[in-house]
């Protein structure tokens, strides 16, 4: 290696393979036919002059060790197991270098493609617009509901109404039960909350879960016990992908 190459800083290399590849190319060597002693000497000289720069010293040093081991083993008689092993190791190293070379090339292609795409945009999430998503209530009904509320509120401000049973609570309750049992007896749930309102909400909840593909219903014969069976462990039929709507931005820190 001639002196001017020493201007190259070690942190210009991604790692030991990158340095090794550079040295090989600098010497016009074939990746599959490395002159191991020449390359080892250059590698050692190169990192020897720069150990202070090294953040990832260990990686570079362990490559140095490997190179030296291959080099010394290759000086042994060809019949020796060490020699055979060194041939193997050199072959592996060539494979890894070739792999690295390909990845570097692909990296260049990706960086270039990325650059050329920087002004193209799309939406990564479904449109908020849902023309089909309409409320079953009209805004006039909503107004009536409010008017009724205000009337009730004025007259019965201090009246304490009974506990409300929320559909989502009952659904959550069923899903909770699915954690410990795959099949639930519906009569069992009613025993815990014996009220007509609860039954009504429970039926709605069950129908909803069945509709959403979270649970299925089973009944042996008319008027027999109804069983609710979890599908997919009671999980939402449609898995949510994390960070789904996230914008893709990245940079080189």
């Amino acid at each position: 290696m001639n002196g001017k190459n020493y201007i190259v800083r070690l942190d210009a290399f991604e790692g030991p393979l990158d340095l090794l590849l550079w040295l090989i190319q600098n010497n016009n060597m074939d990746i599959y036919d490395i002159e191991i002693s020449k390359i080892t000497a250059q590698y050692l000289t190169f990192i020897g002059a720069r150990t202070a720069e090294l953040d990832a010293a260990a990686d570079f040093l362990s490559m140095a060790t490997l190179l030296m081991r291959i080099k010394s083993s290759l000086m042994l008689p060809k019949e020796s197991p060490e020699y055979q092993e060194a041939v193997e190791q050199q072959r592996d190293l060539s494979e890894k270098l070739m792999e690295w070379k390909k990845i570097k090339e692909s990296r260049g292609i990706l960086l270039e493609k990325h650059q050329s795409r920087k002004n193209f945009f799309r939406r990564d999430e479904p449109a908020a617009v849902e023309i089909d998503k309409k409320s079953t209530l009209s805004v006039f009904e909503l107004a009536d509901i409010f008017a009724n509320l205000i009337r009730t509120h004025d007259k019965n401000f201090d009246t304490i109404t009974g506990p409300e049973i929320y559909l989502e609570d009952v659904k959550a309750d069923i899903l909770e039960r699915f954690k410990s049992a795959d099949e639930i007896k519906i009569s069992g749930m009613l025993q815990a909350f014996p009220s007509k309102l609860y039954l009504a909400v429970l039926i709605l909840a069950i129908l909803d879960l069945a509709h959403d593909g979270i649970a299925s219903l089973r009944q042996e014969k008319p008027f027999a016990e109804i069983y609710l069976t979890s599908i997919n462990g009671g999980k939402q039929a449609l898995p949510r992908e994390e960070n789904y709507a996230q914008e893709v931005t990245y940079g080189n820190s």
Partner: protein
């Protein structure tokens, strides 16, 4: 901006947004007077609103691209979870209070309904029908709830004039008009400051 370019810019904005963008916002982005925006969007409407699967509509003081209702079945096959929104009666109550009393606190909603509404409020928030916006002056500075932009779409309301006025309501005669603001004012303000122009809310930067 030259008309042809302006048209294409607005198309790009509306398609990439997927939700409403206010005229004001478009005017700022394109550095073009709002009248010119209206004019251009009208031309765009002519072009898109016949013979296409999507059309440009005016919603909540802004413009957005929507799919034609005829193609809902196809969209439902793509996204089976989209569809008709059924409101529970408790959700409808909370929503009606938010609509006519906004901005309103959770405590005020609880007070009107006489029952705890925090669960329903959480669900409505999650479904973007209402949103938190600002805090009330006073003890504890509770968060204020307002109607959110998707509400207009789901209830098929173009803007505030489509909402039955306070006076038209059945219970209006027994009302004490202690409310300083009419719901109309409230919603108009909503649209201006927190409505459709809020497209930057989910911004995020990250670096590799």
């Amino acid at each position: 901006m030259e008309t042809a370019e302006l048209k294409k810019t607005i198309e790009a904005l509306l398609f990439v947004s997927g939700k409403g963008i206010s005229k004001k916002k478009i005017s700022e982005i394109t550095e073009t007077p709002q009248e010119k925006i209206s004019e251009t969007v009208n031309a765009l409407k002519q072009e898109w609103n016949s013979n296409h699967g999507v059309f440009i509509e005016e919603i909540g003081g802004g413009y957005q691209i929507s799919t034609r209702p005829e193609y809902s079945p196809a969209i439902l096959k793509l996204y089976p979870w989209k569809g008709v929104m059924r409101l529970s009666s408790s959700a409808a109550e909370v929503l009606s209070i938010a609509l006519y009393k906004q901005p309103v606190t959770t405590a005020e909603i609880n007070d009107i309904r006489g029952v705890d509404s925090s669960g329903v409020i959480a669900t409505l928030l999650k479904n973007n029908l209402i949103k938190y916006s600002g805090r009330k002056e006073g003890p504890g500075n509770p968060r204020l709830i307002r109607i959110n932009e998707p509400f207009y779409h789901i209830f098929g309301i173009r803007d505030v004039s489509d909402i039955p006025s306070w006076q038209e309501l059945g219970g209006a005669e027994e009302e004490t008009e202690s409310e300083g603001e009419t719901p109309g004012d409230e919603i108009a303000e909503e649209t201006e400051t927190n409505g459709v122009s809020d497209v930057l809310e989910d911004g995020e930067e990250s670096e590799i």
